[in-house]
């Protein structure tokens, strides 16, 4: 049950962090194109502080999730060597740090953006740019160490320097996919008419870019661990490549890269919102599989054992987040109406 919760928690956390990344990137690079879709990124990213609440069950079940949690460092030299990093107070302090830092950036960006809706002042853009630039290292550090703490720590003996980058790669691609879906859903109901096919094309290109990037990072990590064949590193893939996990791992590789890659490569796909939405749903599903393959083998090393809690935690966390999202949606215009770059965004051509 604890693992199921962590699975649902991680899935939504990566997506929300990905949205924060895209929002920061938009401001840091002073982009034109993303103005019309930015409010939705802000809405999703502003859910980050709620993860502090969803983290409480993780913390409560840390003893089940993390073997090191209840171990005495004196009894295990490897754990002793990892002190004070793998200690309960520092673990909690770090988690608070991630939520506070990332939440603060997300909240500040959204607040400024909404203030701009009122007065249309360019000064807000300049402040948001500063937050965006500062937000990128915040996202990088928070994702990296959250990945180390919550996922790599499932086996305290295992390590990989690529781990943070791997989580980021999945987060960025799947959050862009979620954006496509939300924008499409709003368009379908007659809102967000400012988003046109050129914006879809751009979002599709980013989905493609991060499909490739995920594969590149995933392959590099796997290949280097496989090639060097050092037992303390291969243990991660050994579990996931044996028994029934092997089928799911193979499905992940095929489904996260080999299927969407050729489809997204075509310009046709990126300019057909319905098709792009189908690919987006697929990528979000594959991100689910990815997180599942990361978390659940820690509980069932011998093979897949699906539990109803996997689904219920997913629906529970997703449902609450969805409810919060829809509640917030109506509190602000659906796009930053008076952003000075809105005109340029409307005129986007690829």
């Amino acid at each position: 049950m604890a693992h199921s919760w962590l699975f649902g928690f991680t899935y939504f956390f990566t997506i929300c962090m990905g949205c924060l990344f895209w929002n920061c990137l938009h401001h840091a690079t002073d982009s034109d194109w993303s103005v019309v879709v930015r409010r939705q990124l802000e809405n999703i990213a502003s859910l980050i502080p709620y993860f502090a609440i969803f983290f409480i069950p993780v913390l409560a079940s840390a003893g089940v999730l993390y073997k090191w949690w209840s171990m005495d460092p004196a009894s295990e030299p490897l754990l002793a060597a990892k002190q004070p990093y793998l200690s309960q107070p520092f673990f909690i302090a770090r988690a608070i740090g991630y939520f506070v830092l990332a939440g603060w950036v997300a909240y500040s960006l959204k607040r400024r953006s909404i203030s701009q809706d009122a007065d249309g002042s360019a000064a807000h853009s300049l402040v948001m740019r500063k937050f965006g630039i500062g937000g990128i290292p915040v996202v990088a550090i928070a994702i990296t160490f959250a990945a180390f703490d919550w996922l790599m720590g499932l086996d305290y003996k295992w390590f990989s320097t690529m781990w943070g980058v791997y989580l980021f790669a999945g987060a960025a691609g799947s959050s862009m996919s979620l954006l496509v879906l939300i924008v499409s859903a709003l368009k379908r109901r007659g809102y967000l008419s400012v988003v046109n096919l050129e914006h879809y094309h751009t979002m599709g290109k980013f989905m493609l870019a991060f499909t490739i990037f995920w594969a590149y990072i995933g392959f590099s990590q796997y290949m280097l661990i496989w090639y060097a064949n050092i037992p303390e590193e291969t243990v991660y893939y050994q579990i996931r490549n044996t028994g029934s996990w092997w089928y799911l791992s193979t499905f992940l590789v095929v489904g996260r890269f080999f299927l969407p890659f050729p489809v997204l490569l075509l310009q046709f796909t990126k300019k057909k919102p319905k098709l792009l939405c189908a690919v987006a749903i697929w990528i979000l599903f594959m991100q689910l599989v990815d997180v599942y393959v990361i978390v659940l083998p820690a509980l069932h090393p011998s093979g897949i054992a699906i539990s109803p809690f996997d689904l219920s935690s997913l629906l529970g966390i997703g449902g609450i987040l969805g409810w919060l999202f829809f509640r917030n949606l109506k509190n602000s215009p659906l796009y930053p109406m008076r952003d000075p770059r809105l005109g340029a965004s409307l005129k986007l051509t690829n």
């Binding site: 360019a122 781990w163 005109g343």
Partner: protein
């Protein structure tokens, strides 16, 4: 929902002055002006400074070639390597140069795909630099095989002895990656050159020049159909080059990371090497472009402070990514708690307990690559040419040291203290490396003399005049500036 039909009326389509974009070509230069000023660089008499520079660089290049000849005739034994440190300056120099060769294709291909229009005035020179850097890089593994006349064994050519290359070795992947990269980069560079070569052909006064430029312009007439084909070819080559930019340095990183040597085997190597390559490459582009801009003040309106500012930002970004990788490596070395890994990072590299023979090089690397680019957080520093040039020189040094740190510190003090050996380069190694700078700079000087160092046709496309809706004296002109 607050979106309403009246919302559109509130939308202001004009940009407030604080957010106005600076035009890429300054002083509203016309299309004819651009052709004229860039072509003049090639057409006018060779300036005196060029001869001075060439007469300095070419003997250095020659010295490098002589060293290579000397090395080939005497064998790799004349280098400073020993049984423990089997790789040192040779591979350091290879990775250094191949890294520099990444900026050009990044600017041309990735920035093209992401529609970064500012790339147009620097891409040509950066691509040329890429090619020359890859030439310099190729020398080192080439001569390191010892018996260079056997280098063709690297290619999977069926031969009488039935010898096949070891496909499982990343060193062989290097051969394929680097050669593919070089070929595609040449094609990409040449494709981009065709319209400009035609301009030079049309302007050439001498028959010989007209003939030579004419041959290489491939009969370009600038017709609609030719432009359509050209743009499609350019896009496809950009698409092909992009994975190559990422793959080459990833494969180079595999040379180290597939091993089990502490300090070499770490999974973050591929993206970290790619970021480092772009970082070092941009620094080298600026190292060359800033003096070139000084020597040709007529291109000031094309390579503006805005360009330098943006490149400085990329240096800051990639430098910080490299810093992230260094710190992640240090953290995981500690977290992984492998005593050998810990020794390499904390003793051999950081010099804790006074055990690091080459710890100084680690600090040089850290300072140059991570600390010095942080200066670019300050806007006035990014547009100050002296500051930018200084940081770029630090980065050039730092990126060489990065490879030296990775290669030599891991090897010299390996698992078994009794096999530890110091390494110092022999004069042949030093002079060969210096010689590659001569080769690189001589080739670049020749490029500046004979080919347009700014992609004229591409710069013209980003001028407001190129916009079909542009009206020189109408409101459009204001909106575009």
């Amino acid at each position: 929902m607050s979106e309403s039909t009246t919302a559109a009326a509130e939308v202001s389509l004009s940009t407030p002055p604080e957010l106005a974009r600076v035009p890429l070509v300054q002083n509203q230069r016309s299309i004819g002006w651009i052709t004229d000023k860039v072509s003049k660089i090639v057409e006018e008499r060779t300036p005196r400074w060029w001869w001075v520079a060439f007469l300095i660089c070419s003997p250095v290049a020659l010295m490098g070639l002589l060293c290579i000849g000397y090395q080939i005739s005497n064998g790799v034994g004349i280098w400073g390597e020993n049984k423990t440190v089997g790789w040192a300056w040779d591979i350091t120099n290879f990775v250094f140069w191949i890294g520099i060769g990444h900026a050009g294709t990044l600017i041309s291909a990735i920035l093209f795909l992401t529609r970064q229009k500012w790339r147009t005035s620097i891409n040509r020179a950066a691509e040329a630099m890429t090619l020359f850097a890859v030439v310099c890089a190729g020398i080192f593994p080439g001569i390191h095989v010892g018996r260079v006349w056997m280098a063709w064994f690297l290619a999977p050519v069926p031969n009488m002895q039935g010898i096949w290359p070891n496909f499982r070795s990343p060193l062989l992947w290097d051969v394929f990656a680097v050669s593919t990269y070089f070929i595609v980069s040449v094609l990409f560079w040449y494709t981009g050159l065709v319209p400009d070569l035609a301009s030079l052909r049309d302007r050439a006064k001498g028959r010989v020049a007209r003939f030579i430029y004419g041959v290489f312009a491939l009969g370009w007439r600038g017709s609609n159909r030719q432009w359509r084909h050209y743009e499609m070819a350019y896009l496809l080559l950009a698409g092909l080059s992009t994975p190559l930019v990422l793959s080459v340095h990833s494969v180079v990183s595999f040379d180290f990371a597939t091993s089990i040597l502490p300090g070499w085997h770490t999974t973050i190597f591929p993206p970290y090497f790619v970021a480092g390559a772009i970082f070092g490459g941009f620094a080298m582009v600026l190292t060359i472009m800033l003096p070139a801009r000084l020597l040709y003040p007529q291109v000031d309106d094309l390579i503006t402070r805005q360009h330098v500012d943006k490149m400085a930002k990329i240096i800051l970004l990639t430098g910080s990514i490299v810093g992230y990788a260094y710190l992640t490596e240090l953290f995981i070395a500690w977290y992984g708690a492998n005593p050998y890994e810990k020794f390499t990072f904390f003793n051999a590299r950081l010099g804790l307990e006074g055990k690091g023979w080459y710890a100084w090089s680690y600090y040089v690397m850290m300072f140059c690559n991570v600390i010095s680019p942080q200066l670019f957080w300050i806007k006035s520093m990014r547009t100050n040419y002296v500051a930018v040039f200084t940081v770029c020189m630090f980065v050039n040094v730092g990126m060489w040291f990065e490879r030296f740190v990775i290669i030599v510190t891991s090897l010299a003090q390996d698992f078994l203290p009794s096999s530890w050996r110091h390494y110092s380069p022999s004069w042949v190694e030093v002079l060969t490396f210096v010689g590659t700078f001569g080769i690189f700079l001589s080739l670049f000087l020749l490029f500046m003399r004979f080919l347009p160092m700014i992609a004229m046709s591409e710069v013209k496309i980003v001028t407001p005049e190129a916009d079909p809706h542009h009206t020189p004296h109408g409101p459009g002109a204001v909106a575009n500036h």
